[in-house]
Assembly symmetry: C2
Homo-oligomer: 394 residues x 2
């Protein structure tokens, strides 16, 4: 694969970057946000809708696809792009995060991970090599190394052990990776320990991956800590390679993390919030079920150019949510994703224009972030709701 | 309003008719099927999708919109077309069927109906005049008289009483109806009693409605009885007026009822089946969750030109249903509705070509109808599932 990343401009004040990921399935202008298509579908939306709302790359999860419908099934159907009918670039996550947060974990050894499926309790053993093979079979344009991902608040000794193991697994992934049309990204770990983050960034930087993800963040830690870890990590990564912060997707966080030199993001937040009736506006996140929308003839956001805002009143979306109509979940998902892709396009343009600092200050001045305690509580509840416990079978 | 219906061709063998409903919002080539948008949304779909799958008219329910968000709310937002962003013709059902099947009925008098909302148990009193006013405020292109709709199997004396009351209410609806840009349809009743059906058709035919619906059928009675009632009713209706059979939507029934001179149909069946994974093909109804679809690279129906079949394999739709992904419900709904609109377009063309009898025979030869006992059982379960009982409040 030719050089994946072309850096166009760096903001001299902040380190924010504009560039292009040149994937085999088309260019991705960065900074970019990847909508999350866990089961091979960005929930409620067609690929055509994703395309028209400005998504240039999407993410899918090797873990979920491995369990259902199975990697072989997708390979026989012509690979993931054909399976889901999305012709643009795809990044597949390796499943590290999912195995450790979603599966019922049985045993982690240097060799790999034994876990139970969160769907039917069946036992599976995954190694770094198997995960690379799976991602090669799926055929995504960017694939991720397999990593051990401890939760926030884990014992520091365990975090260190997991980080070292992730380095070892990253090397094994690199050795196994054969497809030259796929870019393999390494994942920096180190929990919320600055020293360990620097160590991890250094080790991975020396390994020459096509790109670098920063994992193990946005797991319920205070936002200041997230940003601090970025500041410790990013300067140690090779500037000519793309940097991907995993699991970040709120407007305020995207602005702050772009300012710290991140190029790529993914998060299910915009679609998950949308399905729950929380919609982004240039001022703040609003709840569409709020009675103030009952008679609102205006769209959700007057400045928005999305299909939802161009065609429907906020009152109509409010009504759809009151009736629990699926069209409501769709229209809110479209709006939220368009809000995010437009925000990133605006940030990119500002970086290219040299007006990033100004744009960021204006954004911060006008946008009221969600209360940190509410955010933390929502995150905690979400992470907890993902844990499905099966009766022990041994 | 100018003459609503133009009859283009009648099949000399069967009485099947091709025509055009000339509504203020555009022509509806008949025979036509109306997708059902109960809460002002055809479940899971946007108006743009309905348009592109060939729907030329849709139905919505005054009863549901009256309860939520309220008629006033929609009127203030510019009427139903604007509210739901559908610029084509709309027919609103009066709510007779809903009040009697869905609401918790309190009392029926000659004056009107006292019922409890199926949503919150609140009490409401509806008269024929109030229902016409509501439909005028909603602004549909075709509106329905308010009728009393007894269930299948009701005592014959009660059916006679309800039929006479519906005649009286139809006259009151006609007197109250003022908007000249809306066509008002009367509804023939009479349960499954041929003599009463003939009587009802005669009474309503003498009242000069813009069109005639046949109500109180497709409520769980055997199909032979449905067809017999049509044969008793249709010849007594004025041939220059459109005829609308309420609540019919399976492929085999549509073919049989078009052959008996029906011009217009509505049913939630295609979308409801779609959301449950039952998809139409030219041979029969299939269950997408069937394991034979697990690896099916072909679309649901190779002959189908819908968005779903043109873009996705049956295996992908199968996978979406396995994961309970909303996109699956959408794609199956699109396919089923397109199947039905295409079937009716084909029937129309065959009537115009003079090949209707041949087309019908070919259809019957190739299409395996759903087992009548299964159909009856599904209908019974559906009707039962709609009944929500609230604790008595008096």
């Amino acid at each position: 694969m030719d050089r994946l990343f072309r850096l166009s401009q760096t903001c001299p004040d902040t380190g924010a970057r504009a560039g292009i990921l040149a994937t085999p399935r088309g260019p991705v202008p960065t900074p970019a946000f990847m909508p999350v298509g866990t089961h091979g579908t960005v929930k409620t939306l067609t690929p055509h809708e994703l395309d028209s709302l400005g998504a240039s790359i999407i993410l899918s999860n090797a873990y979920h696809l491995y369990l259902r419908p199975g990697i072989d099934a997708i390979e026989k159907l012509g690979g993931l792009h054909k399976f889901m009918s999305w012709q643009g670039p795809i990044l597949t996550d390796s499943g590290g995060f999912q195995v450790f947060s979603l599966g019922h974990l049985r045993r982690v050894t240097d060799e790999g991970v034994l876990f139970r499926s969160h769907i039917d309790g069946s036992e599976h053993f995954l190694t770094p090599e198997a995960v690379i093979e799976a991602q090669e079979a799926l055929g995504a344009d960017i694939i991720m190394a397999f990593d051990e991902c401890p939760p926030y608040g884990e014992d520091p000794g365990r975090v260190r052990e997991a980080t070292e193991r992730s380095h070892d697994w990253a090397a094994r992934c690199q050795r196994r990776h054969g497809r030259t049309d796929q870019a393999l990204f390494g994942i920096v770990h180190g929990g919320t320990c600055a020293e360990l983050r620097r160590h991890s960034a250094g080790v991975l930087a020396s390994m020459d991956f096509a790109g670098y993800a920063i994992g193990g963040l946005s797991l319920g830690e205070p936002k200041e800590l997230t940003l601090l870890m970025l500041e410790e990590t990013v300067p140690l990564l090779p500037p000519e390679k793309p940097r991907y912060l995993m699991g970040v997707g709120s407007p305020e966080d995207l602005v702050d993390c772009v300012a710290r030199g991140i190029d790529l993001f993914d998060s299910a937040l915009p679609t998950r919030l949308g399905r729950n009736g929380a919609v982004f506006t240039r001022k703040r996140r609003r709840n569409i079920l709020n009675s103030s929308f009952k008679n609102a003839e205006r769209p959700i956001d007057e400045e928005c150019d999305c299909h939802t805002c161009r065609n429907f009143s906020a009152a109509y979306i409010h009504h759809l949510f009151k009736c629990q109509e699926m069209l409501g979940y769709r229209l809110a998902s479209i709006h939220n994703l368009r809000f995010i892709t437009r925000l990133l396009a605006d940030l990119r343009q500002a970086i290219l224009d040299g007006s990033f600092t100004y744009y960021r200050e204006a954004f911060i001045e006008h946008y009221q972030p969600t209360d940190p305690r509410m955010r933390a509580e929502q995150k905690r509840r979400w992470l907890e709701s993902r844990r499905v416990e099966y009766p022990p079978q041994d």
